[in-house]
């Protein structure tokens, strides 16, 4: 191999290495179903992944008081910071209801939500509904959950996390703790 060839070989090797690093890491959990949920952005679930559960020391009494009157206090790590900013800016029409807060509560709760938002969300998306995120859809599709379960009146709606995740209020959705109501 001439010196010129060796140089070319080295360049090719570096280029190959670079390509392999840049290629998206395959994330298929088991059967490649993840492709359906987008691969455009790096990280699991096309970049729409929830964060780690909130530690008890990180909870906010103000958040719990104000955000659990009508629904469970959804854990901030379930959505990215951008979603929470959007949500808090539109509380006067919050999924069809007026959930407006005074300026001080709004500012402090927004800060809490943004600080504890998902740290594993790399996509530029910012859904308002937790159920619109790729991680949620993937984890609750027909392969994971028998569609009949959703029709159980004790479950009522996918927004009713606590029906099957008794630790939901703490942001704990660990599969070991799931209890599907009969």
């Amino acid at each position: 191999m001439s010196i010129k060839d060796q140089k070319l070989f080295r360049i090719l090797a570096v280029a190959l290495l670079a390509i392999s690093v840049m290629m998206p890491v395959a994330q298929a959990d088991d059967d490649g179903r993840d492709e359906k949920y987008g691969e455009k952005y790096s990280g699991k679930y096309g970049g729409e992944n929830r964060g780690k559960p909130l530690q008890p020391a990180q909870t906010s009494a103000r958040f719990r008081q104000e955000c659990s009157s009508c629904h469970i206090p959804y854990a901030p790590g379930l959505l990215p910071a951008k979603s929470w900013r959007k949500m808090m800016a539109g509380l006067d029409n919050h999924f069809g209801s007026d959930a407006s807060l005074d300026a001080e509560d709004s500012r402090k709760i927004t800060a809490f939500l943004v600080k504890n938002a998902s740290n594993r969300w790399s996509a530029p998306t910012a859904p308002l509904r937790i159920t619109d995120s790729n991680w949620f859809k993937r984890k609750h599709d027909d392969h994971e959950i028998n569609p009949a379960i959703w029709k159980n009146p004790k479950v009522k709606s996918p927004a009713n996390c606590g029906a099957c995740h008794p630790q939901a209020e703490r942001g704990d959705f660990n599969e070991r703790n799931i209890r599907i109501p009969k």
Partner: protein, 139 residues
């Protein structure tokens, strides 16, 4: 000199004591009185009526919901959020001593719920009638 010193100390203790009270805690009666004051300033205001309040509470107005949609026809019983199904504690003070003791909460929920039920804010007359009704509900 000593007396003056002691007196100012007492004033200080009194002021600190006041500040340590829970923020704005009031009784439903006091809250009703402040709605009364608000109503007195509006033309055509009448004495608050529990009967009118009850009719208002159970009637649908601009939207699909009435107050009773979530708080039920019996405000002394627990309610349920019409959309999310989340449990709502009883609204009548006879059944839930916490109700109508915080002006901030009262203002917040009248603002939100009137907007949802009527698509507008409630008049002081409407709020006063509803509170008269809720105060009349026995457990």
């Amino acid at each position: 000199m000593f007396h003056l010193f002691r007196a100012s100390g007492l004033v200080l203790v009194a002021v600190v004591g006041l500040a340590a009270q829970p923020a704005f805690a009031e009784t439903p009666g006091e809250i009703q009185a402040s709605i009364q004051q608000e109503a007195a300033g509006t033309p055509g205001s009448r004495e608050f009526s529990a009967a009118r309040g009850e009719a208002f509470f159970r009637t649908k107005h601009a939207n699909d919901w009435s107050c009773a949609s979530c708080h039920t026809d019996n405000p002394a019983a627990p309610g349920k959020h019409a959309r999310t199904g989340k449990a709502i504690d009883p609204l009548a003070p006879s059944a839930n001593a916490e109700r109508f003791t915080s002006p901030k909460k009262v203002a917040k929920w009248f603002r939100r719920n009137c907007n949802d039920v009527l698509d507008r804010v409630c008049t002081p007359q409407e709020k006063g009638d509803v509170l008269a009704y809720l105060l009349a509900v026995k457990k």
